[in-house]
């Protein structure tokens, strides 16, 4: 019983930390800029921003739990967005066309993920290398398809997907919430979720336990790819166009979110709730910076700083735990 309590305490520390940060930012901003920060509009504005990179961050989380990393997510997002957009435009922008376009995008995401998974799981090339190459390849294919310029001429109604609201809640937030629920289910209630954690904790032991590491790896990167595609679809809708270099700055951001959300860089550990909170915290920080008109470079600088500080803090906490 004792142990269970301490364990609950341990889990909550990370999540508590994130909640405290979120509350602090809201408080400080509420005092400094109540009108700008606490307005419904501002929260709606945030709501149309974070789902894009938030959904990518879940892909990164899965890859990191498996003991790898997925640096190709942005490439996948854009490639699947491009394919989806082309299909929609080619089919005339009707509702079925949009649905088929979305489907195509998801399939492309899954294929790219399968490619990553194959090289990582079957050929056992380190994930970092594979996905770095993958980023280059998918971006390259995107460029070949578009020849550079953005694909436009998408049906106007498609922009509603991200620019509309449901009961005052931006549609992307609704989609994001669905993704969160599905991720929770995937991690908690499926065989795959359990096996993923096993493989990430100790991939040798998981092989010796009869877990099909190749299959788990394939599912991981394919899911990651599909999440990339969902994010890609959101971007296509948000920007009403598709291009091979949208969101190129999201890679670092997703990595930062995953680590901040308590995902262990060596694999095996990661919580959907932690990552969700980290996404929200980052969006709050970003929005606060914008309202305070902080120089964008400081933001880049601070992202790096947060990443390092989180890692150092984790290290210190863990060391204290060991010596105790």
């Amino acid at each position: 019983m004792e142990k269970m309590k301490t364990q609950i305490k341990k889990i909550d520390k990370n999540i508590m930390g994130l909640i405290i940060i979120a509350v602090l930012i809201t408080l400080v901003m509420g005092i400094l800029q109540p009108k700008a920060f606490l307005s419904v509009k501002n929260f709606q504005g945030m709501g149309s921003q974070f789902p894009e990179f938030g959904i990518l961050a879940f892909g990164m989380m899965l890859a990191m739990i498996s003991g790898g990393i997925d640096l190709s997510l942005v490439g996948i997002a854009n490639l699947s967005g491009i394919v989806g957009a082309i299909v929609m435009v080619a089919m005339g922008g009707t509702l079925p066309a949009m649905l088929i376009g979305i489907l195509c995008a998801l399939v492309v995401g899954a294929i790219c993920g399968a490619f990553n998974g194959f090289f990582i799981g079957y050929l056992r090339i380190p994930a970092m290398l594979v996905t770095l190459c993958g980023l280059q390849l998918y971006t390259g294919i995107g460029l070949i398809i578009t020849k550079g310029p953005a694909i436009t001429g998408l049906p106007q109604s498609f922009t509603l997907l991200t620019n509309g609201t449901v009961l005052g809640i931006p549609v992307p937030v609704v989609i994001f919430a669905i993704v969160v629920v599905m991720m929770c289910f995937l991690m908690k209630s499926t065989t795959y979720g359990k096996e993923l954690c096993f493989m990430g904790s100790n991939h040798i032991a998981s092989r010796y336990a009869g877990i099909n590491n190749l299959k788990v790896t394939m599912i991981t990167y394919m899911t990651s790819g599909v999440l990339g595609a969902i994010s890609g679809i959101l971007m296509v809708s948000h920007y009403n166009s598709a291009k091979s270099d949208y969101g190129s700055s999201y890679t670092l951001l997703t990595l930062l979110i995953a680590v901040l959300g308590g995902t262990h860089p060596d694999g095996g550990k990661g919580k959907v709730i932690g990552v969700t909170l980290a996404i929200i915290v980052l969006q709050l920080v970003s929005s606060a910076f914008n309202i305070l008109r902080v120089n964008a470079f400081i933001k880049t600088c601070v992202w790096g700083l947060i990443l390092i500080v989180v890692m150092v803090a984790t290290h210190l906490i863990e060391r204290k735990k060991v010596t105790r």
Partner: protein, 339 residues
């Protein structure tokens, strides 16, 4: 206005109209007395390059001199998605006007539509084809600007020889417009000149420009002139030309900044660079936004009281000025152009 239309002559150095101190002159700005406290945001493509840092200088100056709450904010990287997010935040903050230089025009249409739906005035720059804007303001007519390079190159090469055209990206609308106009003029006015190969794409990167120009000069040593479009194009070209021992033999002109290509202009490897002052463009955007907010008339002949933007031509939603600056060996050391 002080009326420095430095178009084709481009030699008058006008050191008296030092551009970084030129606030909107009073005759253009008298309408500002009665306005309420407007909040106007200026959003560049990205903040990490010299060009847009110069724009920031202009915005800050404007805010300081007029007391209007005009501010500069933007993404640190060239990424259409990031720029859109900045604008989302601005919409949430209830700004009165957004002045934007779109990184990728397509990706901004939906979010600018949102801004306009929220009653925000949207002024764009370098984005003449956009739909969801109030007005777009251009420093000059792109065709005219492109042609003036060929005038210069034709003149100094004596209208003979092959030349190459560089663009930052094959997808860049303005770059292509410049070189196309330039080529059209050459065919008409300098029939003995001939373009060599395709447009060269440099990805706005100096070393790419360097490497590609070098490759072309190797393949065809009879090149007589080079016209660049992106900021780094002529600098890279000049470096290649110098290294291959062809300085003076190959004439170079194109868009660039003194901070990028100044020394090649000074030593004569580059014959002329042209640019428009981003600081002034920033000021012009804000000034125009104010006029729209105050529901003043916007018609051809509009005078924003800013050098080069004092007699604008309106076609559709696009206002065009005559704000380009030519820099040659003679005026390269003018402190007014030191950016």
């Amino acid at each position: 206005g002080c009326g420095t239309v430095e178009s084709s002559q481009g030699t008058s150095s006008d050191s008296n109209t030092s551009s970084n101190s030129s606030a909107p002159s009073t005759d253009g700005g008298d309408s500002k007395g009665e306005e309420k406290d407007y909040k106007i945001a200026v959003v560049p493509k990205l903040t990490s390059i010299a060009w847009f840092q110069r724009m920031e200088v202009g915005v800050k100056e404007y805010a300081k001199e007029t007391g209007v709450d005009a501010f500069y904010t933007g993404p640190s990287e060239g990424d259409g998605a990031l720029q859109a997010q900045v604008i989302e935040d601005l919409i949430a903050q209830d700004v009165d006007a957004i002045c934007v230089v779109p990184f990728s025009t397509e990706s901004l249409e939906p979010v600018l539509k949102k801004a306009r739906d929220a009653g925000i005035v949207v002024i764009a720059h370098e984005a003449s084809g956009m739909e969801n804007i109030d007005y777009d303001i251009e420093a000059f007519d792109n065709d005219e600007y492109g042609r003036h390079f060929m005038e210069k190159l034709g003149e100094i090469t004596g209208g003979e020889g092959e030349y190459i055209l560089e663009v930052g990206a094959l997808t860049s609308q303005s770059h292509n417009q410049w070189v196309d106009a330039s080529r059209a003029l050459q065919e008409e006015k300098f029939p003995n000149m001939k373009v060599y190969g395709d447009k060269i794409e440099t990805a706005d990167d100096q070393s790419t420009s360097y490497n590609k120009v070098k490759e072309v000069l190797t393949a065809n040593p009879s090149i007589a002139a080079i016209q660049g479009s992106a900021m780094a194009d002529v600098a890279g070209a000049a470096l290649a030309v110098e290294e291959l021992g062809l300085a003076g033999k190959v004439k170079i002109a194109g868009t660039s900044l003194v901070s990028v290509s100044g020394k090649y202009v000074e030593n004569g490897t580059i014959d002329m660079i042209s640019f428009w002052d981003p600081a002034l463009a920033g000021k012009a955007m804000i000034e125009l936004a104010l006029k729209v907010l105050n529901e003043e008339d916007v018609t051809t002949g509009l005078n924003l009281g800013i050098e080069g933007y004092d007699n604008l031509t309106l076609t559709d939603k696009v206002l065009t000025g005559q704000a380009w600056i030519d820099v040659t060996k003679d005026n390269v050391n003018d402190p007014a152009y030191d950016f």
